[in-house]
């Protein structure tokens, strides 16, 4: 060591630790990444979580079942409907109640609208991560229409508290179905527009194809679910594989990544699966709007839900993947324990695996293509 210090001709090189976040424009919230870099090349990534931890699971142990729904809203704030729906399905499984047809249809319609809204953000933000600004504003413009629809539905634009155990808070407002159809007619051509601007852009393909390749077996080993898993070519969607609600009534495809621009499971595939899923969601909503029956939406549940002793695990395909709620009841009106399986948490765990040896710009692209929401990861 001393000899080295004396010998000035020996220049030592080392890795630089780059601290990305929690205040950084493209960590999608308050994620912190400790990146070990050698020049532009990344050798190791450590995600550091917990900046948005709000003790969701602990809160649940003090609140009644119906009071938990506003908290599930705030888990995945880009797809609140999905979280509420997932929790409600788990509680209803525990209570073993059958819901009116109309409730299930309403839930499917709003959940699929929410999926479109969430994927619009994901797709636009991925464009933003690779440097295209305009697609993001375009997708936000279309998402705004969905939020307007939700506003007529329940008065809220982001955190709805609309789907709750035993039903939904309000029936559909007048003309909601017509407005939804109008939106779908407006939205379908916009997907082509997005494809022209971003999906088929040469620079975009250069930046995303063959970058961050996630092979199917690695994805399964890490527990990756949702569009990120389907981007790797695994045809797994809970809406098809373990149908909940009334999804078996609808005719839709499960798009998977085919490696059209590069290899299967690259960023472009994960991106494009989301674009295709929006088209599938449009299909589902169209069918649901045609078939929706008349009826009452308020299931006759008591004011205080008091399930039997027991435990239940409810699975749900949210915009980010497989959301699970594990609820233990001891027969009181508050649950003994609620555990949430966060899909974005598992998806994030694969980031280091697919980004090592790539450049800093690719880390950003990989992170954007995994589409994480920190509210759900930290809970």
């Amino acid at each position: 060591m001393e000899k080295q210090l004396q010998d000035k001709s020996v220049i030592e090189t080392g890795e630089m630790v780059l601290n990305m976040g929690p205040q950084h424009p493209s960590t999608h919230g308050v994620l912190r990444l400790k990146i070990h870099t050698d020049g532009e090349i990344v050798s190791k990534i450590e995600p550091i979580l917990g900046y948005l931890h709000r003790c969701f699971e602990k809160h649940c142990e003090k609140l009644g079942y119906e009071q938990i729904v506003p908290f599930t809203d705030r888990c995945d704030y880009l797809a609140s409907m999905h979280m509420d729906h997932a929790f409600s399905i788990a509680v209803e499984k525990l209570l073993d109640v059958k819901l009116p047809e109309r409730v299930e249809f309403i839930r499917v319609i709003v959940a699929e609208l929410q999926r479109i809204a969430s994927h619009l953000i994901a797709v636009g933000a991925f464009g933003l991560d690779v440097g295209a600004i305009t697609p993001f504003t375009w997708t936000l413009r279309d998402r705004e229409r969905i939020l307007d629809l939700f506003e007529t539905l329940c008065g809220a634009r982001l955190l709805y508290n609309y789907i709750w155990p035993g039903g939904v808070s309000h029936d559909l407002p007048p003309l909601f179905i017509e407005r939804t159809k109008e939106f779908l007619d407006y939205f379908t051509p916009k997907i082509d527009e997005l494809n022209q601007l971003l999906t088929t852009n040469k620079i975009f393909i250069e930046r995303s194809a063959d970058v961050g390749v996630l092979p199917a077996d690695v994805a399964i080993n890490f527990g990756v679910t949702g569009p990120s898993l389907r981007g790797s070519g695994v045809k797994f969607d809970l809406r098809k594989n373990e149908p909940y609600s009334i999804y078996e009534k609808f005719d839709f495809d499960v798009p998977i990544g085919k490696g059209e621009m590069g290899s299967v499971g690259d960023c472009w595939d994960r991106y494009y699966v989301r674009v295709l899923e929006m088209i599938e969601s449009v299909k589902i909503i169209r069918q649901a709007c045609e078939q929706i029956p008349e009826g009452d939406v308020h299931e006759a549940l008591p004011k205080k839900i008091r399930p039997e002793k027991g435990e239940v695990y409810g699975r749900y395909e949210s915009a980010r993947g497989d959301v699970g709620f594990y609820i233990i009841s001891n027969g009181k009106n508050i649950p003994l324990r609620v555990k949430m399986r966060s899909p974005a948490f598992c998806n994030l765990s694969v980031l280091s695996e697919i980004s090592e040896g790539w450049m800093i710009s690719d880390v950003i692209a990989n992170l954007g293509s995994l589409d994480i929401v920190l509210g759900e990861i930290d809970r």
Partner: protein
């Protein structure tokens, strides 16, 4: 072609003023005028950029800040007061120097970049006879001066003592130095054909023959190599990797704020104007009217040429090119750093060299 400095000196020569005083006065006045051009250019370009981006993104852009403040005027003026508000905001902002920064270098860096842009304007003719100093090696001078800025960028990145700034500076240095080569090679082609480094002579050559861009297929290609390389040289999307806001926060400008940051801003937009004016002079006929594209009209039609209307032609062509640059920025994603280098070293430079060879053959044959 006579420069403005020469005109001032000759017109005051009969009053028996000491030449040193006269020269100092002329240089000061012209320097202030260049600064005014840069400042006005920035204000107008920022407003233009805001409106162009708004137009492309289905927004309205600034609409509220009216210049006269009365209610009916607001909508009509389309938020044109925003440019003044922006300027005041920038200049009154707190100027932060981080504790661990190398303060002397950090203070001097923006001025180096600014000086580079300012000095380039000296050799840049805005029209026939409207040039501060008429160099006979104008192109050479402009290329030399436009690369002064990179020293300031490296200083800014290094002295900020911030890892993002360092990354940005290293990227910027690599990028700007690389892209100067295709720029130089494509301008060399024009020098080769016209036989002069003097910008006035190059325009005169275009007046005698035709616009350079339409002279031969190779000059047509050279224009595009030049234009795309200048987009990279001015660090704009899709080549904005040095400041890449989604990766490097703000690149080498991360730690700057207030007045010093506004100097960066001023130089960035000034550089855009400079490269566009050079493109319009060298390839698009400069201060000649569009009638000279192929020079097929008789000389009696040349009413649209002249020193003053020439300024209009130079600027209209430059603004068109600036619009295209903005169009790029609001449409394209960003390239990765290795793809950027690939584009420069493996695409543009070989093509520019081949271009140089083939245009020599073309000149020999035709």
């Amino acid at each position: 072609m006579t420069s403005i400095t020469d005109t001032i000196i000759t017109s005051f020569s009969e009053y028996n003023i000491d030449i040193a005083i006269l020269l100092t006065a002329a240089i000061t006045i012209l320097g202030i005028m260049i600064f005014m051009i840069m400042a006005v250019n920035t204000l107008v370009a920022v407003y233009f950029e805001r409106k162009v981006s708004a137009f492309m993104q289905d927004r309205l852009g600034p609409m509220e800040v009216g210049i006269f403040g009365f209610k009916g005027g607001k909508k009509f003026w389309g938020g044109i007061g925003q440019i003044i508000a922006d300027g005041i905001k920038l200049l009154t902002k707190e100027d932060i120097l981080p504790n661990d920064a190398d303060k002397a270098l950090m203070i001097i860096a923006p001025f180096i970049i600014f000086t580079g842009a300012l000095l380039t304007f000296i050799g840049l003719p805005l029209s026939e006879n409207i040039v501060v100093s008429d160099f006979n090696i104008g192109i050479f001078y402009i290329i030399a001066m436009s690369s002064v800025g990179v020293i300031g960028i490296i200083l800014a990145g290094w002295s900020s003592n911030n890892k993002w700034s360092l990354y940005g500076a290293m990227r910027a240095a690599a990028q700007i130095v690389s892209y100067e080569i295709p720029i130089g090679l494509s301008l060399l082609l024009v020098v080769l054909v016209s036989g002069s480094l003097h910008l006035g002579n190059i325009v005169q050559w275009q007046a005698d023959h035709r616009w350079f861009i339409f002279h031969s297929p190779f000059t047509f290609l050279a224009f595009f190599i030049y234009f795309i390389s200048t987009v990279a040289e001015t660090n704009r999307t899709p080549f904005d990797i040095p400041e890449a806001e989604s990766e490097l926060v703000a690149g080498w400008m991360t730690e700057y704020s207030g007045f010093r940051w506004s100097l960066f801003f001023l130089s960035e937009y000034a550089n855009m104007l400079i490269v566009s004016i050079v493109a319009s002079i060298v390839f698009l006929g400069g201060w000649l009217s569009p009638l000279h594209i192929f020079n097929i009209f008789p000389e009696s039609w040349d009413l649209m040429d002249g020193p003053l209307i020439g300024v209009f032609w130079v600027f209209i062509k430059a603004v068109l090119l600036i619009f295209v640059m903005m169009w790029f920025r609001w449409t394209f994603p960003r390239l990765r750093v290795d793809q950027l280098m690939y584009l420069c070293w493996k695409v543009f430079i070989p093509f520019a060299l081949a271009n140089l060879f083939f245009v020599s053959l073309w000149e020999l044959i035709f």
